[in-house]
Symmetry: C2
C-alpha cells in the first residue's frame, strides 16, 4: 500500500534537542511500516518550529523581517534533516537498505481563495499595540489582538490545490525510497501565469497531506495527533471514542457539532475528502501509530 | 551527459530579496543546459546565508544557541526553495515539462579527519574577548581572533567521504528530474556505527560537489565562480588565463604556487580529483555559464 502519514508539529518539540529526542521515538513505528513493504510518505506540521525561526529573526538586529514563506522553507530543512536522520538511523540499525529524503516542497493555493480576504491564522511573536501599528504601516502586516496576550500578525490559511513537486515524490516512491514532504503544509505559492510566487500564508498540514495523498494516488492517509481517537461528546460524561465510521455517519456527526472547529474538525474534513475517493483514512495518536497502521487503533473512516 | 554544476554562495546575495533576484538570472543558463537534454544536478554554497541564519539566532533572546548543522539544514531549505522556484518558473516559461526539487542532504565526514584536530573555518558573529571566553566555557566553542575584527568561532572543514542521499539523487536523475543538493557542502555528519550524527563543521562545497559527481558517475563538473578563468601569475603583469589544461600541467602549476590557498587552490584540487577519474572539469564565471557548459569558456581540465 501507498501510505501518507501526517505528523503534528507539536509532536516534534520546541527546540533542536527535544526534536532530535522525540524523532528517535517517532522513527520506530514508521520503520515498522516500511518493513512491511509499504510505500511511505511522511507529511508534517511546523507550527512551533516555524514560530521559533520567525521569532528568532524578528528578535535579531540583522534580519528582523525574514518573509514567512522563507521561514517555512527553513523549517522544512530543519525538521526534514532531523526526521530523515532519525528514520535513516533506525533503518540502518535494522539493516533495511532504503534511503529517505526530505523534499523542499511548494504547495499551490488559489489567490482567489476566500481565506485571502479574511486572514485568521496567528503567527510569530506578540507585540504591543504601538509596535503592531508600526508593523501595519511599515510591513503591511495585518495585526489582531490575541486572547489578551498582545497583538499578533495574522495570515490567511487557504486550501491547497496542487503540489508542485508531486512528480518528484511519485518518482522516489516508484524507485523504492521514503519521502518527507509538504512540511508545515508546504511553502504556499500562488500561480501567476505559470510563475509561482511565495505568499505569506499557512496551509493546514492535514489538508496538504490529504491533497498530496489524492495527487499521488495513495491508498491510505493516517493523521497522527495527540488523542487516541475521534470522540463524540468529547470532554463530557457520555463521551465515546469512534473506531470504525462510515462517511455518512461522520457527516451527520459534523452537522451535530461534535467536533471542535479549531482542532478536530479540520482533521476530519481533510480525512473525509480523501475517504470519499474510496480510500482509507485514519486518525490516531502517535503513541498508537504502530497499531493504527494495521487498522487496529484510532478512528478509521471508510 | 550527467553534469554537476557547483554555484558559490556569494552569487546568491545577502538577503532574501537579493537572492530571489539573482536566482532569476542564474536560472537562465541552467535551463539552457536542461534544454539540451543533459541530466543536471546543482550544488551550491551557503557561506553568507548560513552566516545570516546563525547570526539572527545568536542575536535572538529566544534561541541564541541554534546548533550549526541545524543552521545548515535551514539554509538548504531557504536557498533550495528560491532556487527550485526560479528554475521551475523558467522551465514553465519555456514550456519544458520537468520538475526540479531540493533534497535535504547529509554528507558524511570521517571523525578521524585531521581537520577535527585543527579547526580553522571561522563562522558566525564577531565577539569581544570577554564574550568569547564565556562561549568557550559554556558552549565548548573554539574561538580565535579574526584579523583585528574581534573573536569568532572556528569549526573544522573535513573532507566529504560519502553523500547519504546519493541513491535518491541518482533515482531522480534516472526519472528525468533536476536535483538541487549538497547545499553548503551538505550537512556534515559522522558515522558512529551506522548512526549518523551532525557535527559542527563546514564541508567545502567544491569538494562536496566533486565527491557527489564521482558517486553518481557524472560526466562533467562545472564550478561557477567570480572569475572567468583560472590564472597563472594572477594579479601580476604577466598574468595568463588558462583555457585547456592537462592534469600534468595543473599539477606542476600547483607546485609552483600559482594558486591562492584560500580561494582558487581548493577549487583546483576538487576539480583535479574528479578530472583524474577520466572526466571533464571546468572552472568558469557565472556570467560565462552558458558558454562554459559548451566548453567554450572557462578553464577546462582534462
Amino acid at each position: 500500500m501507498r501510505i501518507v502519514v501526517s505528523l503534528g508539529g507539536n509532536a516534534l518539540g520546541k527546540n533542536p534537542i527535544e526534536q532530535k529526542q522525540l524523532l528517535i521515538q517517532v522513527a520506530k513505528p514508521i520503520v515498522e511500516l516500511i518493513k512491511e513493504g509499504h510505500e511511505v510518505v511522511i507529511a508534517h506540521g511546523n507550527g512551533p518550529q516555524v514560530g521559533m525561526i520567525n521569532l528568532a529573526f524578528s528578535e535579531s538586529n540583522s534580519t528582523p523581517n525574514m518573509p514567512f514563506p522563507e521561514c517555512g522553507a527553513m523549517s522544512q530543512g530543519y525538521i526534514g534533516y532531523h526526521m530523515q536522520n532519525a528514520i535513516g538511523n533506525e533503518l540502518t540499525a535494522q539493516n533495511i537498505d532504503k534511503t529517505i529524503a526530505s523534499i523542499v516542497t511548494q504547495v499551490i493555493v488559489d489567490e482567489n481563495d476566500e481565506a485571502f480576504q479574511n486572514p485568521r491564522k496567528p503567527i510569530g511573536s506578540f507585540y504591543t499595540l504601538e509596535e503592531s501599528k508600526v508593523l501595519e504601516e511599515t510591513m503591511n502586516y495585518i495585526m489582531v489582538e490575541d486572547s489578551g496576550r498582545g497583538y499578533r500578525r495574522v495570515v490567511p490559511s487557504p486550501m491547497p490545490i496542487d503540489v508542485k513537486e508531486k512528480a518528484v515524490i511519485a518518482s522516489l516512491l516508484k524507485e523504492g525510497h521514503i519521502v518527507i514532504t509538504v512540511g508545515g503544509g508546504g511553502i504556499p505559492v500562488i500561480d501567476n501565469n505559470g510563475q509561482l510566487e511565495g505568499v505569506a500564508a499557512v496551509i493546514d498540514k492535514d489538508n496538504a497531506s490529504a491533497k498530496l495523498a489524492e495527487l499521488i494516488n495513495a491508498d491510505m492517509l493516517v493523521i497522527l495527533t495527540a488523542v487516541d481517537n475521534v470522540y463524540i461528546n468529547f470532554g463530557k460524561d457520555n463521551s465515546e471514542a469512534l473506531t470504525n465510521v462510515s462517511i455518512e455517519r461522520i457527516e451527520s456527526l459534523i452537522k451535530e457539532n461534535h467536533f471542535a472547529p479549531g482542532s478536530m474538525l479540520p482533521k476530519i474534513n481533510a480525512t473525509l475528502k480523501f475517504a470519499k475517493t474510496g480510500k482509507i483514512s485514519v486518525i490516531a495518536s502517535l503513541n498508537n501509530a504502530k497499531e493504527a497502521f494495521k487498522l487496529e487503533a484510532g478512528t478509521i473512516i471508510k
